[in-house]
């Protein structure tokens, strides 16, 4: 009896969902979908960390695959993905596909032998068809249990991090100009302080991932204060954490985040402000800050869930480089990695589907999705803002991945996060860097 009620409930909910989505058919993309074969009734399970709006968009996108092949895709998203997937993989409960938000963990799982290689053909395809293709291939290539390097992680859905969000209306009211160099950005921040405004909203609290926002700041500033080669050496720890280059970037970050005049609520509030609440200061009444540096996904956390960007209440500019240090236009980004954790013909077809421009366009049309797929039609982007981000991506002279994602899990999702939080709480730069380096030495 209870089961029957449940089915009824599910049906009722499903009808609501349909009513919500029916407005636009996301599968109707500029590029046509190729033949993927038929897999009627076959179930593909996907596990990931996307929830809420992202989950909705993911479900809409995979529904195109379901329509084309007859397969059934079941997605389960949880904020505790990192913990759950490890338990699932180790207990033979692997889903077909696991979406890792961080390459570090994917690498660990590959080493334990839980991932299925996608094959050289896929790697070659990605190198040829993604912008900066080889760097995406490298991001998804890990050593297996025997130490052989294989291509496991298919990058799909990228984020652009080097953005500063602001409210055009506030800039207009106060008579501020968009800065095009770091020097101008700092001068503008000082001007805001002189005017009695607060320039920045910064929040690094994020549950058991607290500190990642600060690592993004660090990485963006590394790219603006030292060469990309040094950045790569830093990621592999050939350049130690307590070297002068890294310490310098941390000090520059400190000039922003540990300056009571610069940060809304004072420097002490940085560690306790939820990263998703921080940008709300741009829109509060009266506005508690003027600028917010955060990745392309952040509009989803704005009070109207991103509508602000469409109606002109919010806009962004490129986090500018120093005019005095010649490093071009560096851009920091990240991407989720889709890995095969349980082989099946339908799952292989799904990875073929992700190579189709149509799959990228289906998600592009729904928002907050950036892609490096060269074949995807830029007109498919849902908004001019997303297009503008796509252009920042293509104007970049240097593109680097989120360093904390590339570092080993114990650092990139551990000591780096926690020590940057300690830094926000007043620990000095030298101690912070020494502690992270000590943690790294300990796992070598």
């Amino acid at each position: 009896m209870a089961i029957n009620f449940k089915t009824l409930g599910a049906a009722a909910v499903a009808s609501f969902t349909l009513a919500g989505v029916a407005s636009a058919d996301v599968c109707d993309t500029p590029s046509k979908l190729g033949d993927l074969g038929r897999f009627d009734g076959e179930v593909i399970t996907i596990a990931g960390s996307m929830e809420g709006k992202d989950e909705e968009m993911l479900t809409n996108t995979v529904s195109c695959f379901e329509k084309a092949t007859g397969a059934v895709v079941k997605y389960s998203g949880s904020r505790d993905f990192a913990a759950l997937i490890v338990a699932d993989l180790r207990s033979n409960n692997a889903p077909n596909i696991a979406i890792f938000p961080q390459p570090g963990l994917a690498g660990d799982m590959a080493k334990e032998g839980h991932l299925v290689p996608l094959g050289q053909a896929s790697a070659d395809w990605m190198a040829a068809n993604y912008g900066a293709g080889q760097s995406w291939v490298d991001l998804g290539t890990y050593a297996d249990a025997d130490g052989n390097k294989n291509f496991y992680g298919f990058a799909f859905k990228m984020d652009l991090k080097s953005l500063v969000w602001y409210s055009p209306e506030q800039f207009e009211d106060n008579g501020y100009e968009i800065p095009s160099t770091m020097e101008e950005l700092i001068a503008l921040s000082d001007q805001m302080v002189a005017d009695g405004n607060t320039p920045w909203c910064i929040g690094v609290e994020s549950g058991n991932a607290t500190g990642w926002t600060a690592t993004d700041w660090m990485e963006d500033l590394m790219l603006r204060t030292t060469s990309p080669e040094n950045y790569d050496r830093w990621v592999s720890n050939d350049l130690p954490f307590n070297s002068p280059e890294v310490l310098n970037a941390m000090e520059v970050y400190g000039q922003f985040s540990r300056n009571d005049d610069y940060v809304a609520g004072g420097a002490s509030s940085v560690a306790t402000t939820f990263f998703g609440d921080a940008p709300k200061g741009l829109f509060s009444s009266p506005a508690s800050c003027m600028m917010h540096r955060q990745a392309s996904f952040i509009p989803a956390f704005f009070p109207k869930k991103g509508e602000e960007v469409a109606n002109g209440e919010a806009d962004f500019f490129y986090f500018p480089p120093y005019a005095s240090i010649d490093l071009g236009n560096p851009v920091l980004g990240a991407g989720t990695l889709w890995t095969m954790t349980k082989d099946s013909p339908a799952t292989r077809a799904f990875f073929e589907y992700m190579k189709e421009a149509s799959a990228h366009e289906a998600w592009m049309s729904q928002g907050t999705f950036l892609t490096a797929h060269k074949g995807a039609d830029l007109n498919a982007y849902a908004t001019p803002a997303l297009r503008k981000q796509g252009e920042i991506l293509s104007n970049a002279t240097t593109f680097r991945f989120d360093a904390s994602d590339l570092m080993p899990g114990a650092i990139g999702a551990g000591a780096f996060w926690s020590e940057m939080t300690a830094f926000a709480n007043g620990q000095d730069a030298k101690t912070t860097a020494d502690n992270i380096q000590a943690a790294w030495d300990a796992i070598k």
Partner: protein, 408 residues
């Protein structure tokens, strides 16, 4: 006398501490999203000053004119009629650059709160507003002004609404589904352990068999095994059973793997088994201590009358143990109902089978900010345990004393 009133004060204090979060939860769930985000729940009952942004008119809506009139409340309430902004407009925050008197080449940003009735310069026109929200915007010559957003500070009258409840219960928030899933998990996960435990407790109390005391010590010592420790082996076990069942299913029905005959290793049944296994030691311990205290003479006379063990159990022990059974049911029900971590690791993970605590956690979701929805769902999830507790609470105190006071 003094001791007694002190006791009352302490009791009142404890009740107060426990009631405040509940009142906060219910109040917040009945307020508008903006109000609950910008002010504390205790401000909900009296007029409170809140900042609101309004735009003077729609983009492109203004024709050439010299005087524009409007009402701040109308502008604010055009989108969100369920929680109307009402009250009195105290002031508007004016911001703008004016020539700096001390430094002729530079401009200076001034900000001030302009009260009702005072003229301020907005986009070259004179802007005046009244406490009731009416404003007039006068321009020296005919213009088509661009809309302007202004911050108004309004003494907000208390306003409540059940929108959040409607949204979570009827607008695809999966809360009704989660309620049903939680019942599917909780009811068997309460009944199964208590049934097994009652039989076991009777055996431990009144049947003599070799090794009884040692066995009891082992059962009691199992109480200290934390559930979290066992997730991996338990999951491995379930996945082994599931793949075996899949093969059997395939052999019996001739279907293909990956098709419909795939048996999921994460299921409701897995949750029942896990909750049963980890609930049993405490249940056996509690019930055994209660049952052992029942009058020996009663059981002996039943024996003399020719009753066997099963008859004694069903006719005498169960009716006499209702307080202990009821109090353990409450324990187990509350524990399973509120359980998040076991359901997360072991329970089904497809969207329509998630239990309430996972659903609540997901509502925090990628967007930690839908506080009003979260609160409404939390209130709904609290109602069930409250009903269970109230309907069984008269047994609860007696049951709590089970084992500690001989004869119950």
């Amino acid at each position: 006398m003094v001791a007694r009133s002190l006791r009352h004060v302490v009791l009142a204090l404890i009740v107060f501490i426990w009631v405040v979060p509940f009142v906060a939860l219910v109040t917040t769930s009945l307020r508008s999203e903006t109000a609950s985000k910008t002010s504390g729940f205790w401000t909900a009952f009296t007029p409170t000053e809140l900042g609101h942004r309004f735009s003077t008119h729609e983009k492109g809506a203004a024709e050439k004119l010299t005087v524009m009139t409007g009402n701040i409340f109308e502008r604010l309430n055009k989108d969100d009629p369920s929680f109307p902004v009402t009250g009195e407009v105290n002031s508007i925050l004016f911001k703008g650059r004016v020539p700096d008197p001390e430094n002729p080449d530079k401009t200076k940003l001034i900000r001030k709160l302009v009260p009702a009735g005072e003229v301020m310069d907005v986009r070259g026109g004179d802007f005046v507003f009244q406490e009731n929200g009416d404003f007039t915007w006068t321009f020296p010559e005919e213009t088509a002004p661009k809309p302007k957003k202004l911050d108004a500070f309004i003494d907000q009258d208390p306003v409540f609404g059940s929108d959040a409840y409607v949204e979570v219960l009827f607008d695809n928030k999966n809360v009704p589904n989660a309620l049903i899933s939680s019942f599917i998990v909780t009811i068997p996960a309460t009944i199964i352990p208590i049934t097994i435990a009652a039989f076991a407790a009777y055996a431990f109390a009144w049947m003599s068999f070799p090794g009884r005391d040692w066995l009891f010590v082992i059962v009691v010592s199992l109480m200290v095994v934390p559930t979290q420790l066992a997730f991996l082996p338990v999951l491995q076990g379930f996945s082994g059973i599931a793949s075996w069942a899949t093969q059997l299913n395939q052999w019996l029905t001739d279907c293909e793997v990956n098709d419909t005959c795939q048996v999921a290793s994460k299921s409701f049944a897995g949750l029942w088994i896990t909750h049963t296994a980890f609930g049993l030691p405490l249940a056996i311990y509690l019930l055994r201590n209660y049952i052992v205290g029942l009058p020996k003479e009663l059981l002996q006379s039943a024996r003399i009358d020719g009753a066997n063990h099963l008859q004694i159990f069903t006719k005498l022990i169960v009716p006499l143990s209702v307080p202990a059974l009821a109090s353990f049911s409450i324990f187990q029900f509350l524990w399973v109902w509120n359980d998040l971590i076991v359901a997360l690791y072991i329970g089904p993970n497809n969207a329509e089978d998630l239990v309430f605590p996972i659903r609540l956690q997901k509502q925090l979701g990628t967007f930690k900010d839908q506080l009003h929805l979260l609160n409404a769902s939390a209130v709904i999830s609290m109602i069930v345990p409250v009903i269970v507790f109230l309907s069984m609470q008269r047994y609860f105190i007696r049951g709590l004393l089970a084992g500690s006071v001989k004869g119950g």
